[in-house]
């Protein structure tokens, strides 16, 4: 098998294949706009709302009173006192059930708490979300035995810090290459390997470690103090300067067999399922930053006067302010909707959460970039420097740096495109998979054709007409109804395009990443438009016309983006780019690089991760 095929197979095995509950996202890609699944958006009970609001108040006053985000940025360390305070407040157990000593908060309030925290100090929200969304609590909650829950969850809730260790120097987006091994010896496993970029790893008490057991990958809870574990380095990054992210070496580390989560070989599935809702935490932090950017853009653009008027009144800046504001409202709407659906548990939200991660990280990056632009030279200056010369210390450049990683970790944008595209075409694959499988023989293809025939005979005509064509549909949305009609029509158009792509490229479709990414991005715009309309309608009860105004403009913006993507589905430079890139890699065009000097420091591109005893000093420490 080729490495590509192996990678693909591993990804396929880790996928959750069942759809026990309805999925708005899945239907959207099939051209079936199920507004009824998301509207009216589910609501939390009064009791949970009250608890959540009280918690947000407590968190807000803690942040305000006890946390100095500029200090975290300057020293690149979150003070122990801050961590202890967050622990005392209960933030390390936000998502852990009360039964295990946690706060048992809803997803909705967990994401709101992260949004609030991220707007103030993204390093802090990274600490909390790495601990809770990917660290020990989530996989143990979902897959742990009752005994494991009793052993680990109360410790996590009490503030023992956890980290998630999947990535290795040679393994990023492709876990099939995972080199860390766990070998069973009696009632223990012996773990060997090197893990890279372990957020929280430098200060962790408990680790989730992904390691190979035979040919498959398994997940373990490991005590960070176990003999044989060395944190060899603390890494530093472009942003999130406060995070405690390191390189962790495992040399003959003995782990009780009881610490295996789920069964052997289930590791990646556990990681992916954990992310089904865990993925909402990053977009929540993106929404937080975008909301903050809205505040700064408004205040600054009305204060700063150039060429005789406040800069916000120059059209070029006005566009940016409108974009920032509408996007902030939309990102929050997307996260809220997905969060509330996660709480309500009637729908499968894995596609919505994945879309939220993809869309949130991409859009928030643009928002932060536009904020820097509006701030002009001050956007590029650090908060500390601004403050030192007597101005308001607005950390716009920091937010830009802090946000950048969101497009890379917990599934890079490119990988999210593939992941979502896989789900988007899943219905087709399940009925017509045999048809387009290059390896299937003729008889199998014949069987597949009959099966697919039945499906498509019903499905294709349903794409031709729908409520989006009736001028009266969705009239309860008033001025926004036409946007929902657009979403309905466009979801059918999207499904037709997907179907066309399938029949045109068949088995090669999975390599058409340009095409697939645009399909997914259109889906993301349609989901965001839906979330915004649903939200605006709900908010109108409290805020009157104002949410409608934002939603209307956001939908205009989103439609233009979607139309641009549609146009580029068929008219693009994809194949020429692929050809050219291959030649670039072959070294045909190195003349382009003439006249430069490469400042990179010496070293191999990828450090060897040879197992064995450490040669480094242990920089692991506990926050106690």
């Amino acid at each position: 098998m080729t490495d590509y095929a192996k990678a693909r197979e591993v990804a396929e095995q880790a996928r959750e294949k069942e759809w026990a509950r309805p999925s708005f996202g899945k239907q959207l890609f099939l051209g079936d706009f199920r507004l009824d699944l998301v509207h009216p958006a589910p609501r939390l009970s009064e009791q949970e709302t009250e608890k959540g609001e009280e918690f947000l108040r407590a968190l807000r006053s803690f942040l305000q009173d006890k946390v100095d985000p500029a200090l975290i940025e300057r020293t690149a360390v979150i003070p122990d006192e801050v961590i202890k305070g967050l622990v005392a407040l209960g933030t390390f157990g936000m998502t852990i059930d009360e039964e295990y000593g946690g706060l048992g908060l809803s997803h909705t309030y967990y994401t709101r708490a992260l949004q609030l925290t991220a707007s103030y100090s993204p390093a802090l929200s990274a600490l909390l979300s790495a601990h809770q969304s990917i660290g020990v609590p989530q996989p143990v909650r979902l897959f742990g035995t009752p005994e494991q829950k009793r052993r680990f969850l109360p410790r996590c809730a009490r503030g023992e810090i956890s980290a998630f260790l999947l990535t290795e120097p040679d393994v990023g987006s492709d876990p099939a290459r995972l080199a860390t091994t766990a070998v069973r010896e009696g009632d223990t496993y012996v773990i060997d390997g090197v893990k890279l970029w372990t957020t929280n790893g430098v200060v962790a008490d408990l680790l989730v470690v992904m390691a190979r057991t035979g040919s498959k990958i398994s997940a373990f809870v490991v005590e960070a103090d176990s003999p044989g574990i060395t944190v060899e380095r603390r890494n530093s990054f472009m942003g999130l300067r406060g995070i405690e992210n390191g390189v962790t070496r495992f040399h003959q580390v003995r782990v009780p067999a009881d610490n295996l989560i789920g069964r052997e070989g289930q590791g990646l599935k556990i990681a992916l399922t954990t992310l089904n809702t865990g993925r909402l935490s990053l977009p929540a932090t993106c929404a937080g930053t975008a909301k903050w950017a809205t505040k700064i853009a408004r205040e600054w653009a009305s204060e700063r006067v150039q060429w005789g008027r406040p800069i916000g009144e120059h059209e070029a800046v006005a566009h940016k302010i409108s974009f920032i504001t509408c996007t902030a409202y939309a990102l929050e709407a997307v996260v809220e909707l997905a969060g509330r659906m996660a709480d309500d548990e009637r729908n499968d939200i894995r596609i919505e959460a994945a879309l939220a991660k993809l869309y949130g990280s991409e859009m928030a990056w643009r928002v932060a970039d536009e904020l820097v632009q509006i701030r002009g030279g001050r956007g590029y200056e650090t908060a500390e420097s601004l403050h030192a010369r007597g101005e308001r210390g607005v950390p716009a450049e920091q937010m830009l740096r802090d946000l950048r990683i969101n497009r890379i970790f917990e599934g890079s944008t490119e990988i999210m495109h593939l992941l979502i595209a896989r789900e988007a075409v899943d219905a087709h694959l399940s009925v017509a998979g045999g048809l387009i499988d290059p390896k299937a023989d003729l008889r199998a293809k014949g069987r597949a054709a009959t099966k697919a025939g039945g499906f498509y005979a019903k499905w294709l005509p349903s794409l031709l007409a729908g409520p989006g064509q009736l001028p009266t549909s969705y009239s309860e949305f008033g001025a926004l109804a036409h946007h929902l009609r657009y979403v309905e029509r466009t979801s059918r158009k999207l499904a037709r395009a997907t179907f066309y792509g399938m029949s045109r490229w068949q088995g090669k479709l999975e390599h058409k990443q340009g095409f697939l990414s645009r399909i997914v991005d259109i889906g993301a715009e349609l989901f965001a438009m839906t979330a915004v309309c649903v939200r605006a309608q709900e908010d109108a009860a409290r805020l009157g016309r104002r949410p409608y105004e934002i939603a209307d403009t956001f939908c205009d913006q989103a439609r233009l983006r979607a139309e641009g993507l549609f146009a580029r589905l068929w008219d693009n430079s994809d194949s020429r780019d692929v050809r050219l890139a291959r030649l670039v890699l072959d070294g045909r065009y190195t003349f382009v690089e003439d006249g430069i000097l490469d400042p990179s420091l010496d070293g191999p591109w990828i450090a060897p991760a040879t197992p064995g005893p450490t040669e480094a000093e242990d920089v692991h420490r506990h926050v106690r």
Partner: protein, 259 residues
Amino acid sequence: MNIVVCVKQVPDTATERKLRSDDKTLDRDAADGVVNELDEYAVEEALRLKEAHGGEVTVLSMGPAKATETIRKALAMGADKAVHLSDDALRGSDALSTSYALAETLKKIGFDLVILGSESTDARTGVLAAMLAERLGTPQLTLANKVEVDGSAIAIQRVTDYGYDKVEASLPAVVSVVEKINEPRYPSFKGIMAAKKKPVETLAIGDAEISADQVGLASAWSEVVDFAAAPPRAAGTVVKDEGDGGVKAAEFLASKKFV
């Protein structure tokens, strides 16, 4: 051990604090009310003593209705219950009448140990602990940076200019603590939720047998005659060092009669 902590709501020191022009009392509506920071050390110490020796911690606060927020904060930290002495007649009470009112309330609710912060950040008289002890007829152990209880004996380290004094007494007693004594805990979210359900008994002066003619602005022994805003800080004198900086500095100090 039955511990009572006296807690006061004061205007947030981070906001601008004002006196009312009509009766020259503190304008409590002008600023957010927060727990007197120094009282948080008292609450913390009470909780630690309770954790070590068992018993119960009661919060006692005299103040307007909105002081309940402050009481809830102390309850959120872990105190068991609270008594809120609240009556319009108490408004404008000075230190003497406040100590009278609190002492009467303490006699009514009973105590083994009363703990206070060393002063309040608004009035800053720092005399309440001594006055309370006098009125209650108990020993006073003030300005403690360490408290130890052993049975019915209590010992503290009293902070002084030259180090500390060791002061011993027997319970019941009144103690005031300084901020060096501990690190107050931050209320946990569970504590905050639990505090909502903890009993807060509100007493009017009649309930505590406090006589109206000994409290309030009219019966105060001290009076604010006048007040003015602090003058803005004038620019300082800059002594430029041109080789004779030392001499000039000495001349300046001599001219102000410092040397």
